[in-house]
């Protein structure tokens, strides 16, 4: 099969995508689940242990609390309550915590610190799988056993006000509810007023048992302006007032068992105001339990401990998959017998979960400890029922209590560790596919980068060979063996068998054709025919060495977790070195010439005569487009890499990302501070003007006008949202969602894209005549449309990033890339590096937290999944996408480029993306028991997978555009 290099690259990327999808499915573990899919029932609770006689009563101890109010403040960081801010802004809560009857804890949330998995953790007590982040945006009903359902089944009446995630998770569980949507991040007052407006009337009524309030305003403020914003204080004061109101109302009613107010949070807030990762401020949340039942009197607990504690305190069964343990402080006032009973119930639930999820449960310390403690509990009960009330009994009881606590801790830990179970079979099949594709791409390199840009894949002959039949049989039999063996709960087995078999056969066929290609390659290398040796015998310049070692070194650096966290540093470092290397090339080119011209200078006697025979090109085309003279052109060429360096340095300080230095102040925060709105506005105007000037050069008149109007629309959109100011607008106008303005811009984006696509289609039709020019114009117009869209989606403080990106592209094209005759592969690698660096310049990192989800709601009234996801992905990967598009436009509009340049570019892009992706997949497989696998390596894996998807989309467009010539045998 003979394919064009671009088509070949596209196929490779698509196969790789499938492989990665399969790998991901196997990599992200299925959460710890009890074997019984049903929920806990009151009737299956274990009997109270009693040595000697038969089973004791299975009743639960009486509830400790009558009514419970759970007040969840989204993104309430631990130090907002317990830190100095708490003293200033939450005086009442602090007073209660310090003096009143309450327990204050720091509850540790697990990564991913995103709202929905956290709500699941709070209510089920289990730790939701990492993949829940991906599913976070659409939350179906929670089917797992959970506290809310237990409470409902026990006849408790539950009232809910707040984030509508709850309503979607627990449909028909609430007797009364009012959900607010969290998608308009810029609104931080209305969302909370919608919750508070019900509070007075609800507190007066007595027709509820559990009241849940979920306040979103604080999270929104964090997303807008970070944890040190001036808006935080008033919001915390407002929350404090609400707590006071609830507390007063709860203490007024003198019920027999007292009421309980739980103040908690789903996750914290990082220093930049986002969340999702596992840094200390993100996972530390306050947990305050306020009730008259507590004596006045904090330490660190797990967030999942709330579910079993509340369940036991309300006399409900513990949700079956909970891995949390009872907070002993909450029950310490109860009689010793009840305390032991509660701990026993918790221990029983944990031990049965352990038994179901771990085949070697008997060897776990915690399980053994629990058995011992249970026995001791039985003995104690016997003494107790015999009426022994001596000091000995009390001491013995406390010993049992301690044993129980140790057992609970050990079992809870063992269960949390269980989360690292992998579906190795799916992972290996996926990884095999990915590595095969990588080998295929690398083996095809000499052919794909050759003049014809055609690749010969011997797939058909491989399918007829004997090794293929043997390999296929072997693979299929292995599959049958793997899937019919015991406890095979792997995803690849659950696929329909024909599909799985064809996938395995495809793997075998690829392997055979790989072997055939490798054989051919070595045979060719063995006998030195002139044609082949000329393609293999490359002389590498310093730049080539840098590009190759940089690519390889960056891939290898992914093995260290710090280098993943700080990957932006690697890219900035490489990009700087690249600019310096380019600078050196430019210097060499222009100074060499100067030396020849200036022979008569004083030091000319020292000049070596070797340069005399230099093949100096007589004239590199004078910079016609900008109409500058030769001398000016030289200086512009010399300053271009330096200007790029300065741009990169400035952009680097615009957004601090990563982990170690993320807390350092950066320009972005300074600009986003409310006091510096004027600077932000001026900067945005300048950036938009620069964008207009740089983009309009390639556009037709109509598109230029559309572009100008679109950019104006972007500014008015940002003004409507409240980030920037109009000069005539002095008082802060009421903030709207800016839907109209955003849609106004969308119209122009679509218009420009449409014009571009129309030109492209026209060029397809008239390919023979002036199609080339038309095609290049069409491509540039598509590019302009994308720039306009990115300008709309990026936050205003990131607009300079876009402007710098365009500036660097223009200058590099004008003065460096064309003049220095870099080949398509070199230019592609440079574009890829720039794209990567701009990905991080935008403020992205390898942490889920930095994805700006609010982008998905630009110009939409409510959440619509498909556009939201596409817009978010597009905006996050704006840097790489824009550079890839620029590569395409540049390669296809170059007049004197070889015909296969576009194919070469596409192929190089595929290789550049496959090398890190494939090696990273292999790496995560090897490091799957690494300590940081969930906090560092898996988010990066998701980023890599998405990036492959984006690259595949780019290659698709490349292939569609590239219709220079077809490869025929």
């Amino acid at each position: 099969m003979r394919l064009k290099a671009s088509v070949f690259a596209l196929f490779c990327l698509i196969i790789e995508l499938l492989g990665i999808a399969l790998y991901l499915r196997g990599f992200f573990p299925v959460p710890v689940k009890s074997s019984l899919s049903s929920k806990s029932k009151l009737s299956d609770q274990p009997a109270e242990p009693l040595a000697g006689s038969g089973p004791n009563s299975t009743q639960l101890p009486p509830p400790l609390f009558k009514r419970v109010v759970i007040m969840l403040i989204d993104a309430l960081r631990e130090d907002f309550v317990f830190g100095p801010n708490g003293k200033r802004f939450m005086p009442f809560t602090r007073q209660i915590v310090e003096e009143g009857s309450s327990h204050g804890f720091i509850a540790k949330a697990r990564a991913p610190t995103v709202t929905m998995p956290r709500i699941k953790a709070l209510t089920t007590g289990s730790i939701p799988g990492f993949i829940d982040v991906v599913m976070n945006l659409n939350s179906p009903a929670l089917l797992e056993d959970n506290l809310i359902r237990q409470a409902k089944d026990a006849g408790k009446r539950i009232v809910f006000y707040g984030d509508d995630t709850w309503v979607r998770l627990f449909p028909r569980h609430f007797t009364e509810h009012d959900g607010t949507t969290s998608f308009f991040v810029s609104d931080y007052t209305e969302v909370d007023n919608n919750v508070t407006r019900h509070l007075d009337s609800t507190l007066k009524r007595a027709d509820w048992d559990v009241l849940i309030l979920h306040y979103l305003g604080l999270d929104h403020i964090g997303h807008i302006s970070g944890p040190h914003s001036a808006l935080i204080g008033p919001k915390l004061l407002e929350m404090d007032d609400i707590i006071k109101k609830i507390h007063t109302s709860l203490t007024e009613s003198e019920d027999a068992p007292p009421d309980l107010l739980v103040l908690c949070s789903d996750h914290g807030m990082s220093e930049t105001g986002s969340h999702g990762g596992s840094s200390e401020p993100e996972v530390s949340t306050p947990l305050v339990l306020i009730s008259l039942a507590f004596p006045r009197k904090g330490d660190t607990v797990e967030q999942v401990d709330l579910a079993p504690t509340l369940a036991l305190a309300l006399a409900l069964p513990i949700p079956r998959n909970s891995v949390g343990r009872l907070l002993p402080a909450v029950v310490e006032q109860a009689p010793l017998r009840e305390q032991l009973r509660l701990l026993h119930l918790n221990g029983h639930q944990l031990s049965s979960l352990l038994r179901d999820s771990n085949p070697t449960y008997q060897r776990q310390d915690g399980y053994e400890l629990f058995r011992v403690a249970e026995k001791a509990h039985g003995n104690w009960m016997k003494l107790y029922l015999e009426g022994n009330t001596s000091e000995v009994l009390g001491n013995l009881g406390r010993k049992v209590l301690k044993q129980y606590l140790e057992a609970l801790q050990s079992m809870s830990l063992a269960l949390s560790k269980q989360l690292g179970r992998y579906d190795m079979y799916s992972m290996i099949v996926g990884m095999g596919l990915i590595l095969e594709v990588l080998a295929l791409l690398l083996l095809a390199m000499p052919e794909a980068l050759g003049g014809a840009a055609c690749v010969d894949v011997p797939l058909a002959p491989a399918c007829l060979s004997l090794p293929f039949c043997l390999l296929g049989l072997l693979a299929c039999s292995t599959h049958v063996l793997m899937c019919t063996s015991a406890e095979a709960n792997c995803y690849f087995c659950s696929l329909p068998w024909p599909l799985a078999f064809s996938a395995l056969l495809f793997v075998a066929a690829l392997l055979c054709s790989l072997a055939a290609m490798a054989g051919k390659r070595f045979r060719l290398a063995g006998d030195p025919r002139p044609k082949v040796s000329s393609s293999l015998d490359w002389t590498l310049s310093e730049l080539d060495i840098l590009l190759l070692t940089g690519t390889v070194g960056q891939t290898l650096s992914l093995g260290a977790s710090s280098f993943i966290e700080e990957e932006h540093q690697t890219w900035y470092f490489l990009l700087n070195t690249l600019c310096l290397a380019v600078f050196q090339d430019v210097c060499r080119k222009y100074f060499k010439e100067r030396r020849v011209l200036g022979e008569e200078r004083e030091e000319s006697s020292l000049l070596p005569s070797t340069t005399d025979g230099d093949p100096l090109r007589p004239s590199f085309s004078p910079a016609t487009e900008l109409g500058v003279s030769l001398g000016a052109e030289k200086w512009l060429a010399l300053t271009t890499p330096l200007l790029t360096l300065v741009c990169c340095r400035l952009l680097r300080s615009l957004n601090q990302t990563g982990v170690q230095w993320a807390h350092l102040p950066d320009l972005g925060h300074w600009l986003n501070n409310g006091e510096h709105k004027v600077f932000l506005s001026v900067l945005a105007v300048f950036s938009l003007l620069l964008i207009f000037l740089l983009v309009q050069r390639h556009c037709s008149l109509v598109s230029t006008i559309a572009l100008a109007l679109g950019l104006l629309g972007i500014y008015s959109y940002r003004a409507a949202v409240g980030s920037v100011l109009f000069p005539w607008q002095h008082t802060s106008r009421s903030i709207s969602k800016g839907t109209g303005e955003a849609r106004f811009v969308y119209v122009f984006v679509l218009g420009i894209l449409f014009t571009g696509v129309k030109d492209l289609l026209c060029s397809q039709v008239t390919a023979a005549g002036g199609g080339g020019h038309l095609r290049s114009r069409g491509l540039w117009e598509v590019y302009s449309g994308m720039v306009l869209l990115v300008a709309l989606l990026l936050r205003p403080h990131n607009l300079p990033t876009l402007a710098c990106c365009l500036l660097v592209q223009t200058l590099m094209v004008q003065f460096v890339w064309e003049r220095l005759r870099y080949d398509a592969a070199q230019i592609t690698i440079m574009h890829y590096w720039f794209g990567q660096a701009f990905f991080y310049f935008q403020g992205n990192s390898n942490n889920i937290a930095t994805v700006d989800i609010s982008v998905g709601f630009v110009g939409l009234e409510s959440y619509v999944e498909v556009p939201a996801v596409i817009l978010t992905a597009f905006c996050t990967y704006a840097g790489p996408v824009l550079w890839a598009c620029h590569l395409m436009c540049y390669l296809s509009s170059e007049r004197d480029r070889a015909a296969g340049a576009l194919s070469h570019g596409c192929y190089c892009l595929a290789v550049l993306r496959s090398v890190p992706a494939a090696l990273y997949v292999a790496l995560t497989t090897a490091l799957r028991y690494h300590l940081f696998i969930w906090s560092v390596f898996s988010p990066k894996l998701l980023y890599e997978a998405t990036h492959v998807l984006i690259a595949a989309a780019a290659c698709l467009i490349f292939t569609a555009v590239d219709h220079d010539h077809a490869c025929s045998l």
């Binding site: 280098f563 470092f573 020292l606 170690q660």
Partner: protein, 221 residues
């Protein structure tokens, strides 16, 4: 002729390398609490000074620097002043490059500048000593065609300078690692890398020249 030159260069390199070791050892006696990490800047300047002094002594006083046509005092003085200006300019240039690479602009500017001084000493100063303040000669040595160098000293200059810079470049690699080691503090790893690279260059240059003796076609002066 060949062997004499190579032997001379090897001994010069040995002297320079020994001076770096001395610059590390002697301050231990003279300065209280001296350590390469703790009082890094003292170490850095002691190395820079000793390399500078030894270089100037070896190359200038022993007369390896290019023959000057005019021997007037005025000419010598202007050469000296130009050399000083070039050295300061090169310090500023290295400082700018290091800042572009991401070193903080304002805080720890002293450390950054010290690194720039060290790099200049290891590269520019040697160029000044061997080639004199003569830009054309520098371009000849460091441009691609100039790799066909004119004397063993040119080759040694090429190798040691590029090794120092590459060493400093590699020295930046461990900075993002979260190991919290004392040598990860800015600019210790970079200056150690530069010094290590320089020492490697000193060692590698004679070996490289011996190895490629056949290919090298030096013009005899």
């Amino acid at each position: 002729m060949w062997d004499v030159e190579i032997r001379g260069m090897t001994s010069a390199h040995a002297i320079i390398a020994a001076s770096i070791f001395m610059a590390t050892v002697i301050p231990v006696v003279l300065v209280d609490n001296f350590s390469v990490y703790g009082t890094h800047l003292v170490w850095l300047y002691s190395v820079a000074c000793s390399v500078a002094v030894v270089n100037i002594a070896v190359f200038w006083l022993l007369g390896i620097s290019p023959p000057t046509k005019k021997n007037t005092l005025n000419y010598k003085l202007s050469r000296l002043i130009r050399s000083c200006v070039y050295f300061v300019l090169s310090c500023l240039f290295f400082h700018a490059v290091v800042v572009l690479y991401g070193a903080p602009l304002i805080e720890s500017a002293l450390e950054t500048f010290s690194l720039a001084v060290l790099l200049s000493t290891l590269t520019t100063l040697r160029c000044l000593c061997i080639l004199g303040p003569n830009v054309q000669a520098w371009i000849r040595v460091f441009s691609r065609d100039g790799w066909v160098a004119m004397s063993v000293w040119d080759t040694s200059l090429q190798i040691t300078s590029s090794c120092s810079i590459v060493g400093a470049w590699f020295g930046a690699f461990p900075i993002p690692l979260d190991w919290d080691r004392p040598w990860q503090v800015w600019p210790i790893s970079c200056s150690l890398g530069a010094t290590g690279g320089f020492l490697t260059g000193l060692l590698a240059a004679p070996l490289w020249i011996r190895w490629h003796r056949k290919q090298l076609t030096y013009k005899l002066k």
